[in-house]
Symmetry: D2
Subunit: 351 residues, 4 copies
C-alpha cells in the first residue's frame, strides 16, 4: 500500500483517514502546496563544470568500452532537485557524450526526440536514417523522434558533444518506445554534405516535388552548422545595433521549432554586456560555446566558461553578464517552450 | 546530495562512480530500463468503487465543514503506482467532490484546467467568471485554465460529481499558477441558461460580432447537458447501426477538443455487447454514468457500476463488456490525448 | 486580334503603339484607373423585388417543364454593372428557384459550392450524396463543392428558395468541373432527420470514431433549421442587450465558415432600429426573410420586404433601418469574406 | 439596360424573356456552357517573344521618360483570350519593365502583391519600406501587398526584369487599394545586403526576439539570389538523380508560399530532356531564364529562349523539351496555386 495516510488528532477523523488510505483516497483539505501562486519547481538551478565532466569522461574512456553490444559513453546530468533521477531538469535530459578515436555508437531509434550540440572536434558523422551528417564544434545536429541514428568517429581524435533529449517528458507521458537498428555493420558513405542539407539547406528554397516533401513531424534540415549560425548572429547584431541577440533554429518547410518538444536558440551577449532579466514558464538547459561570464538564476550565480551546462528552473529570473574582453559569450539553449506553448501554459516576462 | 551513486565491483570504476555522483553526474551505461520497447507505465490499472467513495464522503460531510476560509470537500483518487501522490494517473487528477445542502465553494482560478462530470443531483450552480451554469446528473461542466470558478448549492439536497484536472501535467511542467477570487460574497443570479450556453449552444451557429468572439484557449461553450449528449449517442447508433458509439465534446467555434490538455468523450456500449480491444499512448480516467459491466485493462478485470472510477494506463489493451439487460453502459472518459497529439506522441491500435 | 490598341498624337509613339498591339503588348503608362485609391467595383448596388420574381417565376412555371432532360427552373439575378453576365455580384451567383408540385430536379455535382436559403414552403427534400435533407422556410441547406445533389417535391404545393453559388469566382479561376449524377431515378427515403443532422447537429458534440470524421472541405452539418437560428438570435439579443445581432453559420467539427468560399450569416435588426454604417472589401448578397425596412448602400436606398434580394458592392457603406412595428427585420447574407480573408485582402470598417 | 435579353420562337416565352430582362433576371434553362465538365479557360496559351519585347522596350525608352510625375516604363502582356484586358492570364499580370541608366521609379504601395524576376543587368536597387534590395539576373525580388516599393538605377546601364502581379485577381475581388509614397526624394543607402536578407537569409535560422518577428502576411525574406537558387537546383538534381527538378521559394519563418496569392518556383530541365506531361487547375506564367527548348501547352508548341514569357491556361497538359547541348533549361514560374489551394479548388494530374 503506497497511498499516503493522513493523520488527525481528532480520533474520528483519524479513523476516516485510515479508511480512505485503505481505499487509495486522500483528503484534499489536508493537502498543502498543491496549487501555489507561482511555480514551485523541483528543478533547481545548477551548473555542471566542463572541466569536471571532461576529467570524468576521460577516465570513463579508459575504463568503459563502446562496442556493438555496448552502449553510448554518456555522462548524464542529474539535477539535485529531482531525487536522484538522471535528468538535468524536470522535463529535459542533458548529458555529455564522448566518442573516442575509431569508435562508433550503433543505430537505434526511440520516441523521445534528441539533439547533439558539438563542443569539440570535427571528425564524427551522425547517420540519420542512413543520411550522413558531419559534426563539428558549434554545430547542432537533430536526431528526431523515431529516426534511426548512429555515430561514427573514423578519425584518430576524440569528440565531445552535449546530448539533449525530451526523455523526462516522454517518460512522464508513458510514451517511450524504442527499437534497435539493423544489426549488420553499415559503413557510412562520408559525404561532405548530407542529402538533408542539400535538399533543405538553401535559404527560403525547398524542393517542390511531392516525393521530396518531408513526412515527419520535425525539421527536414537536420544539421545547422556553426558558420551559418555565427553569420546570422553577426548580421542580426549589425541590423539591430543590439549587444544581446538570439537566433532560433527552425523548420525550413513548415516554419516553427525544429522538433515538437524542444526549442533551440543561440544567444550572443557581447563581451562586457549585462542583459536585462527574463523569466519564462518551463525549464531550460544552457551550454556555453564561446566566451565566459556570469549567469544569475534566481538567487544563484554561476561563473561559466566553454562547455559548462546550466539548468534553469521554471519562472526563475535570469540575467547574463558577459566578461569584458575580446570574446563574446555564445550560449546554446534548449527549452521545452514548444510543449508549454502547445498546451497554452507558456508565460514570459522581462524585468 | 541526492544524485544516485552507482556501484561497481571493479575498484577503479567504483571510485569513478563515486566521483561522478559527487558532481551530480550518472553513467548512462549502467542505467537499465530507460528506453523500453514499449511504455512501462507507473500508472497502474485501478478501480475506485462508488459505494466506498460515497460512504467515505458522507462521513467526511459530517466531520469536515466547507466555508469561506476552508476548501473543497474532495476525495482524491491516489493511483497505487504513483508512490503516494494524490493523482489518479501519471497525468490526470480525478476526485469525487461532495457539496452539501446550502454549501458553497468559494471562487479561485488556476493554470491547471478542470472539468466537473455530475453523477447525482441537480441543484448546484457553478459560476465561471460570473456566468452561472446549472449542473445536473450526466452534465459536463468546464472550468478552464485561469477562469474564476465557484460552486453554489442553494438547495436542501447534496450533490456529487467527479473532478478531473490536468494538475499532474501542469505540475510536472512547473507551470502551476493560482489566485484566490474576490473575497466578497457574490450571490449568483440563478438563470435557467448561462450566457455561455445562450451564445454558443445552438448547433453550428455562433455569434458573428467581434465582441462575442471567445478570447480564451478553450471552448466558449462551458456546459454540455445530458439530454443533448444522450440524443447524440442515440442518433449516432441509429445512423451507424453500431452497438458501440462515442461522441466527443468539442469547441463549437474553433473545433477540436474542449481544452488544450484534456479530451472528453462519452461512450455507449449497448447492453450485452462486448467491444473489441483498443489501446492508446497516454492515460485515461473513465467514470460510469449508467449501466454495469466488466472493463478489462491489460490483465485486470473490473466489475463496474454507476459512479465507479477507473484509471487506464498508457498502452494497455482495454475491452468493455456491458451487462445484458435493459440498461446500456454509458462511460465518460477524460484522456490526455490532446497533449500527446500536440507533441506527436499519440499512437493507438485496435485488436 | 483583340489586344487594345492605344493611340497617340505623336506619330512615332502611335506607330510604336500599333506595333505593341500587334504583339499583344500594352503600354502601362497610358493606362488609367488600374490602381485606384479605393475599390472601384463593377458590381452595382441593386435590389431584385420578390414580387416581380414571384410573378415571373409563376409564368415560367406554366411555360417551362422540369424533367430529367431539362434543367432547374431558376431565375438568375443579373447585376446591371456586369455587362450582361448572369451574376448578382462580381463573385457571387444569386437566383430564385421554383420547384412545382411533384417536380424533381435531377442529381449532378460541380466544383462551385452552392447553398439554398428557403423563402416559402416546407415540402422539398434535397438529397446530398443520398442523404435527404428537409427544407422549410428560414432553413439554410448546403450543397458543397463536388457533392451530388438533387431536389424532390413530393407534395401538392410549390416551393421557392434562393440559390447562392460562388460560380463567378470559380469560373474566374478557370476551375469549373461538372458531372451528371447517375441516371436511374432514386426514390429518396424521406426521413424526418438526415444522417448529417443526426451525426453533427448536437451542440458541441461530434462523432469520435474515425469512420464518422468528415473528409470534405466543408461543414458536415448540411442543414441549419430556422428554429435553431431564431433561438440563437433571440438568445444573443437577450445576453447582449443589443437590437442588432448576427449569428454566423459554422462547421461544427473544424470551426470556421461552412464552405471555403462563402460566409453565411443571419442578422436581426429589431423593429424601429437604425444600425450604424459598415463596409467591407468583397461583395455580398442579402435576402430578406422577415420584416421590412430600408437598406442604404452607398448612395442607394432600397425599401425591402420578404424575399427581396440585394447586391452589395465592395467597400460601400451600408446601413439598415428596420421599420417600426411588431416584426423584426431578419436578413440572410452570403459574402465572399472567406476568400478575401484567405488571401489577406479582407478589410472592414464601422462608421 | 445591360442585362442579356434571351429570345424564344414561342411568343409567350419571348414576352416572358423580355419582362425578365426588364427586371435584370435571366432564365437559367436557356444558358449554355455555364457548368462545363472541365474548365473552359478564357486564357489562351501564348508566348511573348523576348526579342520583340526588347525591341519595343528600347523604342519606348527613347520616347517615354520616367520621372517623379510619370510612371513605370512597363510593357504589359495582353492575353489574346481576355478581350483586350492588359492581363497575361485571367488571374495574373505579367509585364517587362525597363529602367534606364540613372532612372528611378518612385515609391507607392497597393493591395495587389507583386514580384520582380530579373532577366538582365545587376545595377538596380529596389527599396521595400526603405530597405534596399540589390537586383541582378536570376534574382527574385518580392514587393508584397501594401509595402512601399521603389526602384533605383544609379548606374550607366539599363536593366530589364519581369513584373508579375495578382492584379487581375484583386481587381476581380473588388479589393484594389493604392497609395502614393512620400513625395520627397529618398537617396537609398546602397548596402551589399538588405536588413531583410541579414535577418532571414540564413538557412533554418530566424531572429528569436519579438521585435524581429515579421508582422506581414508574406515572406520577410524579400530577395532570393540566383547563386542560392542555382545551388539548390544542382543539389536536388544530385540527390535525386533526376533531370527535371524544381525548387519552391518559401517563407522562412512560417513556411509555405512567399505571398498569399502567388507561388514561385524555378524548374531546371536538363539539356536534351523531355518531361512527362502535367496539368493543374489555375493559371501560370513562365519565364525562360537560361537555355532553350520547346514548351507544349495543349495543342500549342512554343520554341522558347532567354526572356520569353509563356501563359499557361488552366488544366492544359504541359510538356517541356530542353534543347540538347551544354545549357540546361531554367524556367521561372509564377502560379495562382495558393489561391486555388486556399479555396480547395486545386487539382493536378501527371500523364
Amino acid at each position: 500500500m503506497t497511498t499516503k495516510r493522513y493523520e488527525s488528532k481528532e480520533p474520528e477523523l483519524d479513523v476516516l483517514y485510515q479508511d480512505m488510505s485503505d481505499h487509495d483516497l486522500q483528503p484534499l483539505w489536508e493537502m498543502r502546496g498543491l496549487l501555489t501562486p507561482e511555480p514551485n519547481p523541483r528543478t533547481v538551478a545548477h551548473r555542471w563544470s566542463a572541466k569536471q565532466m571532461r576529467a570524468l569522461g576521460e577516465r570513463a574512456g579508459q575504463l568503459v568500452p563502446i562496442d556493438r553490444g555496448g552502449d553510448r559513453r554518456v555522462l548524464a546530468c542529474a539535477n539535485p532537485g529531482l531525487g536522484g533521477a538522471p535528468y538535468a531538469t524536470s522535463t529535459l535530459w542533458a548529458a555529455v557524450q564522448f566518442l573516442g578515436p575509431r569508435e562508433a555508437a550503433p543505430a537505434h531509434r526511440h520516441s523521445p526526440s534528441a539533439l547533439r550540440f558539438v563542443l569539440e572536434g570535427d571528425s564524427v558523422w551522425t547517420m540519420i536514417n542512413g543520411d550522413p551528417l558531419h559534426m563539428a564544434a558549434g554545430d547542432l545536429i537533430l536526431t528526431p523522434a523515431w529516426t534511426f541514428h548512429e555515430h561514427h568517429n573514423p578519425s584518430d581524435k576524440g569528440m565531445l558533444w552535449v546530448d539533449v533529449l525530451d526523455l523526462p517528458t516522454v517518460e512522464f507521458l508513458e510514451a517511450v518506445f524504442f527499437e534497435e537498428g539493423p544489426s549488420e555493420e553499415v559503413i557510412p558513405k562520408m559525404d561532405a554534405q548530407s542529402a538533408s542539407e542539400k535538399l533543405y539547406g538553401s535559404p527560403g528554397l525547398v524542393p517542390a516535388g511531392q516525393a521530396a516533401q518531408p513526412s515527419g513531424n520535425y525539421s527536414p534540415l537536420l544539421a545547422y552548422h556553426w558558420a551559418d549560425t555565427d553569420a546570422a548572429l553577426r548580421h542580426q547584431a549589425d541590423v539591430s545595433g543590439e549587444t544581446d541577440v538570439t537566433v532560433r533554429y527552425t523548420d525550413p518547410v513548415r516554419g516553427g521549432d525544429v522538433m515538437p518538444t524542444m526549442r533551440c536558440e543561440m544567444r550572443r551577449v557581447a563581451a562586457g554586456t549585462k542583459t536585462s532579466a527574463h523569466r519564462q514558464s518551463g525549464t531550460r538547459i544552457t551550454t556555453v560555446l564561446h566566451g565566459s561570464g556570469r549567469i544569475t538564476v534566481g538567487n544563484n550565480e554561476f561563473d561559466v566558461e566553454h562547455g559548462d551546462i546550466i539548468a534553469i528552473p521554471s519562472w526563475a529570473w535570469t540575467t547574463v553578464h558577459a566578461n569584458p574582453g575580446v570574446e563574446d559569450l555564445d550560449l546554446f539553449t534548449t527549452s521545452d517552450a514548444p510543449v508549454l506553448s502547445a498546451l497554452k501554459l507558456f508565460r514570459e516576462e522581462w524585468s
